[in-house]
Amino acid sequence: MDRRKSIKALVVGTVSAGVVLEACKDDKKAPETNVAATGGDKQFTLDRQPIEVERYKELTSKTFFTDHEMATITILGDIIIPKDEVSGSASEAKVPDFIEFIVKDMPQHQTPMRGGLRWLDMQCLKRFEKSFKDCSKEQQMEIVNEIAWPKKAKPEMAAGVGFFNLMRNLTSTGFYTSEIGVKDLGYMGNRPNQWNGVPDDVLKQYGLAYSERELKECISFDKA
């Protein structure tokens, strides 16, 4: 049963109210009521309080990172999450835009990010007489390899390790909460479903089984 059909079956089978059809239809299209709830701002597919819309507009009216910084973030992001056989890269998933937004939303990240980017540039300037973004791929990887492995990094690189940890964290979380990243991960929820318990092959894999009482008393659905 494909997803659309299963939604229809669930809705038709269990609920009569019109709002339900609205709520369960293709979740990429926001119900109109949502737009009303956000003061007519189509930016949002989520229910927002007016003060949240204001906050969003205030944050997005400002730019935090310079073009130079954004270029550096983009290069680092794609080193951390490159395109591979499973999925695309951080920049393809618009992770740099996410990082620009999140540092404005969470000001505690601003100084570590700005200072870390400058630290990286200064290291490169001393060593290669260029900023990080203008270094060759080999030069970039040389410096990255000195800050990407916390346990084996030299003590004098500790500031860079801290920055790279933050950059790795923001890039990973930005990527795996994007459409490309969620698909990569194989998360299969966030859709109407009928929970019938752990699939049989998985139970078998872990040597587990439901008790007779669970099978008898718990809710179950006909397997389609």
Binding site: E22, C24, D27, L46, D47, F98, V182, N193, V198
Partner: protein, 579 residues
């Protein structure tokens, strides 16, 4: 500001209810269904989970990917408006004590926020003083409230299993969902530790119970509100049907200032400020029912001083604001290495745990007074802000797909690690009963008002050794369960006496109760056993304020039952012309 005036609403109501959460919603429902005219005042805006939708959204639909803000402290998709801090509505603390105060500002109040955990108090929970000599007994027993629990079960809907446990009374249950994979593992690990595990009891409809509400479609997102009303929230289950009777006027964005009284000291209505136009209003009623939350209701009473009630309304006993208590909480979590690289399938299930552990021991054999239950979580949830962080603390410790790696890193190898560890997390938290003490209280701060000019609350709450020792016991139990499951603890395992064993600061579990407590003795309680003020017979309090003690059970189900009971009493008393 122009001429300051007080606008008096001309309509005379049978009841003016302050607050639209579990207590206020139930009172509005019962009274309106019986034909009484109700005015429901709510400090936040209107809200309907079918219209104000955050359910079935993807993480990228939030620019912060579901991270929290002060507007939504439990994350950008959470249904609840506001929480720990509200702009312009401060509160203070005394003598370096701690209290975190959660305030929802929306129709339905905190019922838009909670985990739908719906536990009945048991026979012992009403009579704790008789058992251990601490605190006080309730003026009612389980037999008084049982019929109302039964009615709430049928009206609202709850799943669970019949277990026959003495102090965990069974209800009228819908079938529970089957345990998830990690929950099956928890069951085994807990059984080895001698810890009882049974199906959870949540107010979620695994089967349809009427034509107004749908049944659960297992998206695990109850915290976002349900568009088909398949879980309990006050707006969808109680207030909407109450409004449909034509007997309820809801006044949103109305912050109650005072309960008004006449010369005889009886309540005549409520004065409030409208957040929409900043004008002052009064609304009058035959009865006034407070359901603004334990602390807000006590604040309202303490701020309602008059000739007849100089110590605040319903406060001849001087107990209003006192006996404030929250559930205890401590948690711990980690990873299940045998779940690394697990097969993907949709395991969202219902919103929350499918199993839990009710209190299984006898406190007579322990060094603390009261019990706790255990809540569990884990599995393949929807990724949100924070997901994928901290890989440098994880990926050097385990063999990933046959390879031992260096901690940290980047590239395809990092992507492989994140995929490999996904869905292997597991955690557990205790929720326990704290003692309700006179020395733990909220009072009016003489030095501060909120932006509406209403004097604010000042808190003074301290844990005792009973709660701290209970937290220690929680942590020991959790470690044993984790060990038995083969889990590795990654957080919460190092707590000790220095930080009270990870015991959360009071208020954090969002189960405030006790500040307007009921009792048989008017000198030691604010309300009688019908939730009715000893000193003002047409004033009632039907929220967590009336609790004498709160067991280790989330208090919503008992608020619903007590509010239904008080509302039926009001109807009876009105028929007898006693009100």
């Amino acid at each position: 500001m122009g001429e300051l005036q007080i606008k008096k609403q001309p309509k005379q109501y049978d009841a003016v209810i302050v607050g639209s959460g579990a207590g206020g919603g139930m009172a509005a429902y019962v009274l309106a269904k019986s034909g009484l005219k109700v005015c429901l005042i709510e400090a936040g805006p209107m809200y309907d989970p079918a219209k104000n939708v955050t359910q079935l959204k993807n993480p990228w639909e939030s620019p912060r990917r579901g991270a929290s803000t002060k507007f939504r402290p439990f994350g950008d998709f959470d249904a609840c408006y506001w929480g720990w801090e509200i702009d312009g509505e401060p509160y203070t603390k005394k003598d370096d004590t701690k209290w975190d105060w959660w305030r929802a500002r929306m129709l339905g109040g905190r019922t838009n926020h909670w985990g739908r955990i719906s536990l009945r108090f048991g026979p012992k929970d009403f009579k704790r003083k008789s058992i251990d000599g601490l605190g006080d007994d309730w003026p009612i027993g389980y037999e008084d409230i049982k019929p109302y629990y039964d009615k709430v079960d049928r009206l609202v809907g709850i799943f669970g299993s019949v277990e026959g446990l003495e102090n965990e009374p069974d209800g009228v249950f819908l079938p529970p969902p089957k345990p998830r994979l990690h929950e099956l593992m928890i069951k085994k690990g807990a059984a080895t530790a001698g810890v009882t595990v049974i199906p959870s009891r949540l107010s979620i409809l695994t089967k349809k119970i009427n034509d107004e509400r749908g049944s659960c479609f297992f998206c695990s997102q109850c915290g976002r509100g349900c568009t088909v009303y398949a879980d309990f929230s006050s707006s969808s289950v109680l207030i909407n049907p109450a409004i449909a009777t034509g007997n309820v006027d809801v006044i949103p964005n109305a912050m109650a200032r005072e309960v008004l009284v006449n010369r005889e000291g009886l309540a005549t209505g409520v004065s409030y400020i409208s957040k929409d136009d900043m004008m002052e209003y009064q609304v009058t009623g035959r009865t006034v029912i407070l359901a603004a939350s334990a602390c807000e209701s006590s604040r309202l009473l303490l701020n309602s001083k008059s000739q007849r009630h100089q110590n605040g309304l319903a406060n001849n006993s001087n107990v209003v604001g006192k006996y404030l208590h929250d559930s205890t909480g401590a948690a711990l979590g980690g990873v299940l290495p045998h779940l690394f690289g697990r097969k993907r399938y949709n395991e969202d299930g219902v919103g929350g745990m499918h199993i839990y552990s009710p209190w299984w021991l006898d406190n007579k054999k322990l060094d603390f007074a009261r019990g706790y239950h255990i809540e569990y979580w884990g599995g393949m949830g929807q990724p949100a802000y924070g997901f994928g962080m901290g890989m440098e603390n994880l990926n050097g410790k385990y063999v990933v797909n046959g390879k031992q790696k260096e901690a940290g890193g980047y590239g395809s190898s990092l992507k492989e690690d994140i995929r490999y560890f996904y869905g292997a997390g597991v955690g557990m938290a205790g929720r326990g009963e704290a003692l309700a003490l006179e020395s733990n209280y909220c009072e009016i701060d003489p030095n501060m008002v909120d932006k509406f000019g209403i004097p604010v609350l000042r808190f003074h709450v301290k844990w005792t050794d009973h709660e701290i020792k209970q937290a220690r016991h929680m942590k020991e139990t959790f470690k044993e369960i984790m060990h038995n499951m083969g889990a590795v603890i990654t957080w919460g395992g190092d707590d000790g006496p220095d930080n009270d064993y990870g015991l959360e600061s009071p208020g954090k579990i969002i189960h405030e109760a006790g500040t307007v407590r009921m009792g048989s003795d008017p000198k030691r309680s604010a309300l009688n056993k019908w939730s009715q003020a000893h000193d003002c017979k047409n004033l009632f309090c039907v929220d967590g304020g009336q609790f004498v003690s709160q067991a280790d059970k989330n208090i919503t189900w008992t608020i619903l039952a007590l509010s239904m009971r008080a509302s039926e009493y009001i109807i009876d008393e009105m028929k007898k012309n006693n009100l």
